[in-house]
Symmetry: D2
């Protein structure tokens, strides 16, 4: 077998960093040579006791110089803003970067409107949006991939097949439900067990910052401006995401056939004949999509694992493509269920 490619993971304290380790430690072609967080001075198994017996490595305090000596591709699982500071240095050293933050997902103006001043304007235009179903060929040639957010991943995969049947500026309603791990590890009342168990609630309705990411990508891919009304919600589920899209198309279509045709060559999208469930995709890189239709009104329903298809496994698919590997190398298709 050919030599493995050395990779680094920057930001292994959080959930997506943990998932990256879990995927990469058994990857047939990648070899983890470096893991880091903001402090270092700890082992992986001290940070994540469930990895005792799986990986025996020290966590470093992140340092771009050190990384460049031991890896040729880097996964950044960092908060936005911190991430671009790092990416810039790594790209300068000719490393390939898959950035799981929001920093390279949007065009400049939109980014600065919704986040903060951009600190790597040089590389931003070179980044490729890492949704393989839409940008596979670009990803293969990219050295900087912006890994999509979980909400945009589940939403765009469900929405795109129908955009051509929508009027310009049409209202689209997205009712999105996320497992609690999507909120990250930071402690808050909203993610404590007592708040979440036997409960459900929306947050930031109609003003979540994943909305512009969806709008922009639709615009870029189909040259059509939509009015996306996006409502994110937390459900008493650890991992997984369910998205319901409601819209009215402008002509008489056969929605299920359009969906099947659109994804007929995609191994990580399954068109299903019953409403999607969270558990059927949890643990996998699949996006399941279902559609129901009443005249011109559609209910489009998608499910992904927010930490995998919505973050870490999609990141590894992107890395696979960037390195000329089969996109499915090391990627799980086996759900955790039951």
């Amino acid at each position: 077998m050919c030599n493995k490619i050395d990779v680094a993971i920057v930001g292994v304290s959080g959930y997506t960093g943990l998932e990256l380790i879990k995927i990469l430690v058994n990857h047939p072609h990648f070899n983890i040579t470096y893991v880091s967080n903001s402090e270092g001075g700890v082992s992986v198994k001290e940070l994540h006791p469930m990895l005792d017996g799986v990986i025996d490595m020290q966590v470093q305090k992140a340092d771009a110089n050190e990384i460049s000596k031991v890896a040729s591709l880097v996964f950044l699982a960092l908060p936005h803003k911190t991430s671009m500071g790092f990416a810039k240095q790594l790209i300068a050293k000719d490393l390939k970067v898959v950035d799981l933050s929001a920093d390279y997902r949007l065009e400049l103006e939109l980014y600065e409107k919704h986040y903060c001043p951009h600190e790597d304007k040089e590389n931003l235009p070179l980044s490729v949006y890492g949704m393989p179903e839409f940008y596979k060929e670009d990803i293969k040639k990219a050295s900087l991939v912006a890994n999509p957010g979980c909400y945009p991943t589940a939403s765009l995969l469900a929405l795109m097949p129908f955009v051509k049947y929508l009027d310009e500026n049409q209202s689209v309603f997205i009712d999105a439900k996320s497992g609690i791990s999507g909120a990250g590890k930071k402690l808050s009342d909203a993610t404590s067990f007592v708040t979440v168990s036997e409960n459900m609630f929306a947050y930031n309705p109609l003003k979540h910052r994943h909305t512009p990411e969806i709008v922009e990508k639709v615009q870029l891919l189909e040259d059509k401006n939509l009015k996306i009304n996006f409502v994110p919600q937390l459900i008493p589920v650890t991992r997984g995401m369910l998205v319901s899209i409601y819209l009215s198309v402008n002509e008489n279509i056969n929605a299920i056939e359009i969906l099947k045709e659109y994804y007929k060559d995609e191994e990580f999208v399954r068109i299903v004949s019953n409403p999607v469930t969270i558990k059927n995709t949890s643990g996998t890189n699949f996006c399941d999509i279902f559609v129901a239709q009443d005249g011109n009104d559609l209910f489009i329903n998608s499910s992904i694992d927010n930490l995998l298809r919505g973050a870490s496994s999609q990141a590894v698919v992107n890395a696979n493509l960037m390195c000329g590997l089969d996109q499915s190398a090391g990627i799980s298709k086996i759900a955790y269920a039951p």
Copy 2:
């Protein structure tokens, strides 16, 4: 204190029957004299062990004759079809009836289309739809009240204030989430813990039979036909219901003010300034409603306890009104939370 009114509960095996007992056993003006299920021969505490020390009564095999001797008002917590068979007999004996089934909720044609042939065509036209916010005066005079379904309750309370700003035949999208108790006690794969925990999924999307109930009531109340696209979903929650309604109004409105004005005299509807939560209404008869607006697009968000406001406590409010009592007598406003 004046004499209490004797009441019977027919169908105490299920969740709504249990909730009726829990409310009525401490009610200041009602006195439970008779409880029954389809078999009898058991005590309440054998059927519901948590009521040991609370109520010491035998469960009878339901018999309309016996009931008429000991009660003047009857709650029917029965499956549809069985219910109308019973109601007919009780009404013939001049008893007041609150029917929690679907049997008297719809006009004849619609009922027979979605359920089965109606067996009490005589009384059907006399029944009043038991949503106190919309039919209070009629309920006070009624001797047969059709208690609304849980989905229509949460949906209509959220939707009605905005119907006048909708075009005829406009598409309205209702994304509804129900706790598992809403499916009743009957065992099924879909309600087993292993299926439900860490999961969420829609069922009967765009074809649930609560849809015509919503459409009909809008038509009757506001003389407007809407195209309701209704998607019910199960969430890993025991009790509670969250409804998201998405629609576009036909003029520039101030949605939150309309909502506040509409319910300014209603003690069981709370207009809240943050997205609603299930836990804030669980255990109560409240319906919480929130609205967010982006131009003419609205997100209307309501929460109820599916077993209380969606069934048993609304039934007791109706009984209160039918008996000339204060509507809030014996009705809980105290949520179970945390």
Copy 3:
């Protein structure tokens, strides 16, 4: 009806403070005149939105002087140490106090060993341990009641009937499981949804500080020293507590009969014929107890609502007794289930 007794609640931000409000707002003989937390400047419904429409009161910054003007009995729902500082002042003003903290539960030496130096040595000897089944007559005469911890409540109620059949210094094993609300509102990794859901784990095994509370009370009540091995655990449940006690008795007994006889006059203890469940007591002041026996080895199994019987409703029972009221006034026997 006679005049109501004015009561204050100090510490309404936490779960037990919230539960006190929920009980007292509908209490037939108590009238809440004052609620406070450490900051004040907020209304009850801002602090606890689910109480909107239930109670309309400002939360004060706690002040003993102010309290003495408006209340004759005070519930302290404060952390230990803070609580005794307050209690001392209130007692000096001749107010009755029910203290929900640990500050007056233990004798001096034991308290200082497990907590901190005691700052109210004067009143400590006057306090009565607020477990009505064991100290009812003392509670009636007390002006300072130390409300028991949740673990000791469920453990002692299950254990005491069998202490006389145990040898001195015998090993008793208590495997206790608590809902997450027992850990209070303070944010921690251990109580976040992602940690708790689909999980279960012990903490402080064999060294939890509720152990000495159990040992001391057994000693005081039955003059017998036991070796209590106590293991607390967190379960993915919001409220409720299940205790399993394992021990070997020193003679041939009929365990179930002993249990029934022991509690035959107690309305808040139910001896049940199947293993106890959390849901049958959640929402109530009941303690359910079950026992199974194999020769001299016993499995004693009890269930309480940790926030009610383990804190706030037991506190109100104590207050009822201190004020000469029926112990069950305002106390719920109706479980939340389903």
Copy 4:
């Protein structure tokens, strides 16, 4: 690479059958050639929709003759009694069998006392109890392995290191908590979401039939009879098992050192320094063990995935050993957490 070994799975409808497919479909040395249930006539993905895109195979109506043509090793994931009927036929055809039922776990007399008359007395004495830590060399030579129950697996792994420090006939207390999947797929009130959520309860306390399995194996391995008091409980968790063992040893020992020494060469047992958690082993074949000690009293605490270490992955470890493969081939050490 050498040729793969063809294997069959009989009984793929249930949870353990599903888990076997999930493990074997990616196994480096086994090749699934045949899957069956009691009816046949369905595809794997119709039975388990989450396997769409993973395995494309028809489920057969189980037939020993057919199996013998296409496989050399068979996993039986059947109910007891059905299983031995099948095993007998397969062994007669010289196939290797790993039986996940109880049929070959106990010696004849004990089996017939707790289950039913044994129908394969010929092969019963040849079966090896499939707990690799205790019977590895025997398993390597076996053609019939009785895969242990989940409760005995977690209990014996925790208990065995300390048996030599126990007196004959000593009382040992095992408080065991199982995720709901352990009850299998059969619908029952006890496993419905409404019953289980926010709840916990014991069943068959002191008389579960996994008790004799534990007693017998201790007797066979250490020639010591113990009085095992076993209490199984259901917790609101889908998969996973937590066991607490309470006992008093007869001499002064260093419990943690004994544990470490006992399992120093075992890759699937982790001795951990904090109480075990369910989530750290869910998704893996690990058994985590923790011990706390107060004098001679021990709290021994173990965690396994009930469907993997407690059934399917342990079965594949056994199959690996029976076929001369590395025991860890195809076995996951990566927990699902978070």
